[in-house]
């Protein structure tokens, strides 16, 4: 299994202080061999991070191995071109460690099709050269006549290649464009929180990795992941296509509750193993907040090593 940590910086008095602490945590987690670091997007308090890819570009240069994921990234209000560009850039600044986890449609108070269109667009943008995209929510490029088919389409070969610097005035509004840079990774991991049924169904049928966040109870998380698997199986999807993630609180030597795996480090390792066996998730993420550095080290030495086995 892979093991990661997530942070939501909201709620602190000072962004500078809270963000500095999180960078220190990420650096420590990187040194301890954790697989992933997830930073939640938020806008509700003075220490919230509305643009997590900016934060993670900074963290990328302070870490070496840990994978970096903006978490609960909103599609609503962001231009898909900019989302594709920001994750590709993060991938380069981190030497291939980037991914992105979108918020569920209900959390964005938008239609699931907008989230799906955005994901379709960024995935296409990362692996193709010139293309165009006609969606219900946006078009790329903007100019496009009514006969263009929905989704992504590609230029027909014209018999010769014209480099961009030869386009001149006539082609200064090209019908097809390439979004750049391309990420270092061939397939950048894309996740979406499956907190509502519409997003869950969309993710399952279309092969998007599910992220069950700490807001769901453990029992609810099991039910959601079972439903995801069932729908994915019906759609002919394979388990290896996705990286299913469960996020929980952890209380070392503390109590277990509906949102928390607690007890001894052995108990916690068993709880995670059991959850993985039941749901086939391959990635556990610890929602990290206010813990002592010694907790992270104990978790790394006593839980993570057993999960990596």
């Amino acid at each position: 299994m892979k093991v990661g940590l997530s942070w939501d910086p909201s709620g602190a008095a000072s962004a500078a202080r809270a963000w500095g602490d999180i960078v220190d945590d990420m650096t420590r987690a990187d040194a301890l061999g954790f697989d992933s670091a997830w930073l939640a997007e938020g806008r509700t308090s003075a220490s919230s991070c509305a643009q997590p890819s900016i934060f993670l570009a900074f963290a990328a240069r302070r870490t070496k191995s840990i994978h970096l994921r903006p978490l609960h990234r909103r599609a609503l209000g962001e231009h898909p071109v900019r989302l594709a560009e920001e994750i590709a850039l993060l991938d380069h600044f981190s030497h291939g460690r980037a991914g992105i986890a979108f918020a569920a449609a209900s959390a964005q108070r938008t239609d699931v099709e907008l989230v799906h269109e955005t994901i379709e667009f960024v995935r296409t943008a990362w692996v193709t050269n010139e293309f165009r995209f006609r969606g219900n929510y946006f078009r790329f490029p903007e100019h496009m006549n009514a006969t263009v088919s929905a989704g992504a389409s590609f230029p027909a070969w014209q018999g010769h290649y014209v480099p961009q610097w030869k386009w001149g005035a006539a082609k200064s509004t090209a019908d097809f464009l390439a979004v750049t840079p391309k990420p270092l990774a061939v397939h950048v991991p894309v996740y979406v929180a499956i907190d509502d049924d519409a997003t869950l169904e969309c993710a399952a049928r279309r092969g998007i990795s599910p992220y069950v966040s700490v807001g769901s109870t453990t029992d609810e998380a099991k039910r959601r992941l079972a439903k995801y698997r069932s729908l994915a199986d019906d759609a002919g999807r394979k388990s290896h296509e996705v990286d299913a993630v469960i996020e929980r609180h952890v209380a070392i030597d503390g109590p277990t509750d509906s949102y928390t795996f607690g007890g001894s480090t052995h108990d916690i390792a068993c709880a995670i193993r059991e959850f993985a066996a039941v749901t086939r998730v391959g990635h556990f993420v610890w929602r990290y907040r206010g813990h002592r550095p010694a907790d992270m080290e104990r978790f790394a030495n006593e839980v993570q090593v057993r999960l990596q086995a």
Partner: protein, 334 residues
């Protein structure tokens, strides 16, 4: 007078083979080098589409550079503001400001390449108005952390921007090319003006006009600053400096200046691939100053005497620039 330099890497398109990832590493490394060599700021520009080495998000690159530096100012020049939702731009800027300990400077341009507007869904003809409105919004957002605004293109009602920037406001510069229109717009808004590459006499004229416009608009000209991108090339001899200029033209300018409508004809219309003997191209090449170390010191001293706040020089000779040019100005400043 301050000295800024551009990120190395964002302009090298030909003749410098490297992996794409290594190219982005160069951005960060050039910020580290510039800081070590005594420059005051490092500048990241913005372009979109087609090239893997383009930098579509200068603020993200500056965040990466912030992690590797501690003193140098991190500057966008130019960030193409009409291509952003201004609240998103403010959120990104505030995040970089927090991460860098308050070292961010925003140089904001309006863009000129048609494909960039079309690809990002913004009508190019609206860029001037969007630029002005979005600058106002950025100033509000980074001063008060909250925006209420009603303009032709943007409307926001009491929108909170989190986190708040460390600087209140973040320093804003209007990147207006070298046009009188840009200078007038910056002056009317009371915003510092960052001109494109300009020889001395045109610079003197433009600065005078800018200050005049500011006075007419009710601003105090002495409180407004001017920065200039000044492409100077140096060498032991003028011939050496010209060789450096030719290298820069081959690697970068011959495509970027000629191919995308940056140069204008006599009627003010954009030129695409003008011949190498076109007057607009020749005038541009002539504006790239070549001189021995002493000649460059004297040339830049003239800009200092005009009250120019900062000069931005190309990144390809910053070691030599640091060794031969900066000390003369540092001694004077002490």
């Amino acid at each position: 007078m301050e000295f800024w330099t551009s990120f190395a890497g964002q302009m090298v398109l030909r003749g410098a083979a490297t992996s794409v990832t290594e190219n982005y590493d160069r951005f960060v490394n050039s910020a580290v080098n510039a800081e070590r060599l005594g420059f005051d700021g490092v500048v990241a520009s913005e372009h979109h589409f087609e090239y893997n080495r383009f930098l579509p998000s200068p603020l993200q690159a500056l965040a990466a550079a912030a992690a590797a530096t501690s003193r140098i100012r991190l500057i966008t020049g130019a960030m193409l503001l009409p291509l952003y939702d201004p609240i998103r731009a403010a959120e990104m800027a505030c995040a970089v400001d927090v991460l860098s300990g308050g070292r961010l400077v925003l140089g904001l341009g309006q863009g000129y390449r048609p494909v960039e507007f079309d690809g990002l869904g913004v009508a190019k003809k609206t860029r001037g108005a969007r630029h002005s409105e979005a600058m106002d919004i950025l100033r509000l957002a980074t001063t008060h952390g909250r925006v209420s605004y009603s303009g032709q293109h943007y409307r926001f009602d009491n929108v909170e921007v989190n986190p708040a920037s460390l600087q209140h406001p973040i320093e804003l510069w209007f990147c207006g090319g070298n046009s009188v229109v840009g200078a007038r717009r910056a002056a009317r808004a009371g915003i510092d003006y960052w001109a494109a590459n300009l020889p001395l006499e045109p610079a003197r004229t433009l600065i005078a006009r800018y200050k005049e416009f500011a006075r007419e608009a009710g601003h105090r000209p002495e409180q407004l600053r001017v920065a200039i991108f000044r492409d100077v090339f140096i060498g032991e001899t003028v011939e050496e400096a010209r060789a450096a200029r030719q290298q820069y033209l081959d690697l970068y300018y011959d495509e970027h200046i000629r191919s995308y409508g940056y140069l204008l004809d006599a009627d003010g219309q954009p030129l695409f691939e003008p011949p190498f003997d076109h007057p607009a191209y020749l005038q541009f090449v002539d504006s790239l100053y070549c001189g021995s170390y002493q000649m460059v010191i004297e040339e830049l001293t003239h800009y200092e005497s005009l009250g120019v706040h900062s000069i931005t020089v190309p990144p390809i000779q910053i070691d030599a620039f640091s060794k031969h040019i900066l000390p003369a100005f540092r001694r004077r400043g002490q």
